[in-house]
Symmetry: C2
Subunit: 352 residues, 2 copies
């Protein structure tokens, strides 16, 4: 918050020049102080070392619909590797065609988020992976039933053994999540035009995109959207200056308040990462806005208290499109054969 | 039918020896007269020549959920390339979580079927591909809306142009189906143990599997399950000798009769191809039987009027497992970015 306020203040003195800030820093230098390029290989994960076996296991589990009660829904359903790790839905559709409460964040580059989910209730991807499997509106399964499923297929049992070779009983719900985390950490989108810019190629951005970057930094967007992922680093009230329309910010969803129960967290949500944002409409936790340009304008008024004019909003939108990186090419894994012990699909919804 | 009756009759004289039939043909020679190995490359399709562009387009469309009204369901949903081209459901689940009327046949090797669907109402894969897109219980879309979707994404428009270079307006519903057909024709599973046997490696089958093959031919299964796909070549009444339980053969589904309106076609269904059958439970058009062994016994009594004993059913089941071929390794395509013109998901169900 302080950073944003400071930036907004300083922006007044350095709005229009585009390539100099306080007469000292170039836009590239300034950008490098806020942002980092997406790495080209997966980061190491504390307490969860990667091995080829664990990566293969996680890859299979990400695509495994039999982790859901219905045998119809996998991580891939809402985090589609053909659709930039998201699902093009307002809010995701899960078990029984139920609509979930919030828009599905992309799994791409998610390893660089400070925490996961719109309210940050999972500290990392391993914690995150356990949520949707159990959520009644998503995969509607239980850890116990997942273990029955995994233990029913010898190929999985073998792969868990190889992935966690020191453990006596390697087939666990936590290890399922650890393997998925290892796979998800490889879903990176490096070499976006903006990454090339950050690495020193100032011609990677057009004049309009460069202008948009300048606006993005000096009008204050960077206050919430910085770091490798340009977001995903903290929680901010949606409507800090001006509350958006009730449809965009549904009253029933108080965001991080539901996690912390702290008054200041009402309607606070994780600032979403903006990597590949042009590929992942619709926007906001409610998924109610499909236009990126409109989303930029809403953010201007709601978060910064400024009415972006047409040119400014277009330039920022053009800049945001330079955050589209190389999409990972993912093989669809061949999943293990069912056995007579594998639980059969349950399509009914409890209580319905 | 005549073939089956003849075979059943002759079987009496050649039941137990396994490797000689009427004292003349070996089991290998006999097998070669009924079956062919799965080829290692896609066959040419009459009137639909394959090109790399068309294959890529079809590959993308197979995985494209935006062909459905909800943007949630693609060919891949019910014909999962991780699950041997099927979905492990009794009957497939589509738009609005509606359960469809019949079990999803695999797309693998489907190009070798005489016709498509359980009732053969589509003469080829191109015709087939147009069905589920429009079925209200599946993708619930219309050809007109599909064209709006495809035309909204420049990457698709470009790829249709390259795939159908001589056509003035290449983005058509039929061309969508042609491209999907080209992709599906590549979904082959060669080199199953039984293919190796057919190619001359008699040691590719164990003693029990060889015995099962002998039973399969000489007890009459081959009457309906022959050719490359060991089935998929004709229509046969389910329960030709003994009507199975109502749950397995639901009264409401009269099968091919619904297509031909001919009395003899009541409860007639296409004999399903048996390639990879061990990977694609549950069985029959109703999907009501999960055990392959049980399915073999039901077929024995319902179609051949014989009570297979435990040893016979086990041997035939063991043989059927030798029909599991090398599964194709398919890349998940990166799909084109949405635009403001792309229709948004419609989750509601008409009339509900």
């Amino acid at each position: 918050m302080n950073l944003r306020t400071l930036t907004s203040f300083l922006a007044v003195t350095a709005l229009t020049t585009g390539l100099a800030w306080g007469g000292q820093e170039t836009l590239l230098e300034q950008s490098r102080s806020y942002f980092e390029p997406i790495p080209t290989s997966a980061p190491e994960l504390k307490g969860n070392p990667a091995t080829p076996e664990k990566l293969l296991l996680g890859h299979m589990l990400y695509f495994e619909p039999r982790l859901s009660a219905s045998s119809l829904i996998s991580c891939q359903t809402c985090h589609n590797v053909g659709l930039a790790g998201a699902d093009m839905q307002e809010t995701s559709v899960g078990h029984g065609w139920q609509k979930g409460p919030r828009n599905a964040p992309t799994t791409y580059n998610a390893v660089f988020n400070t925490a996961q989910f719109w309210d940050g209730r999972a500290k990392d991807l391993m914690e995150q992976a356990k949520g949707p499997v159990q959520a009644s509106v998503e995969m509607n399964n239980t850890p116990e039933q997942v273990l029955v499923t995994l233990n029913s297929m010898p190929e999985y049992v073998e792969l868990f053994k190889k992935s966690f070779p020191k453990e006596k009983e390697p087939v666990t719900f936590d290890n399922m999540a650890r393997a998925i985390e290892i796979f998800e950490a490889t879903l990176l989108t490096p070499n976006a035009p903006f990454d090339l810019f950050l690495k020193g190629d100032e011609k990677a951005l057009s004049a309009e995109e460069t202008q948009g970057l300048d606006f993005f930094i000096n009008k204050g967007c960077v206050g919430c959207h910085s770091g490798v992922n340009m977001g995903g680093t903290g929680y901010f009230p949606f409507g800090v200056v001006e509350k958006p329309a009730g449809e965009i910010l549904p009253e029933g969803d108080t965001g991080r308040f539901q996690v912390t129960n702290t008054a200041g967290d009402e309607y606070a949500f994780r600032s979403p990462p903006l990597r590949n944002v042009a590929l992942t409409p619709p926007y906001f936790h409610s998924g109610k806005v499909w236009s990126l340009n409109e989303s930029v304008r809403i953010m201007g008024s709601a978060q910064l208290g400024i009415a972006l004019n047409k040119e400014e909003a277009s330039a920022i939108t053009a800049f945001l499109k330079t955050l589209t990186g190389e999409q990972p090419v993912v093989t669809h894994p061949v999943l293990p054969p069912q056995t007579d012990q594998t639980p059969r699909p349950v399509l009914t919804t409890p209580g319905v």
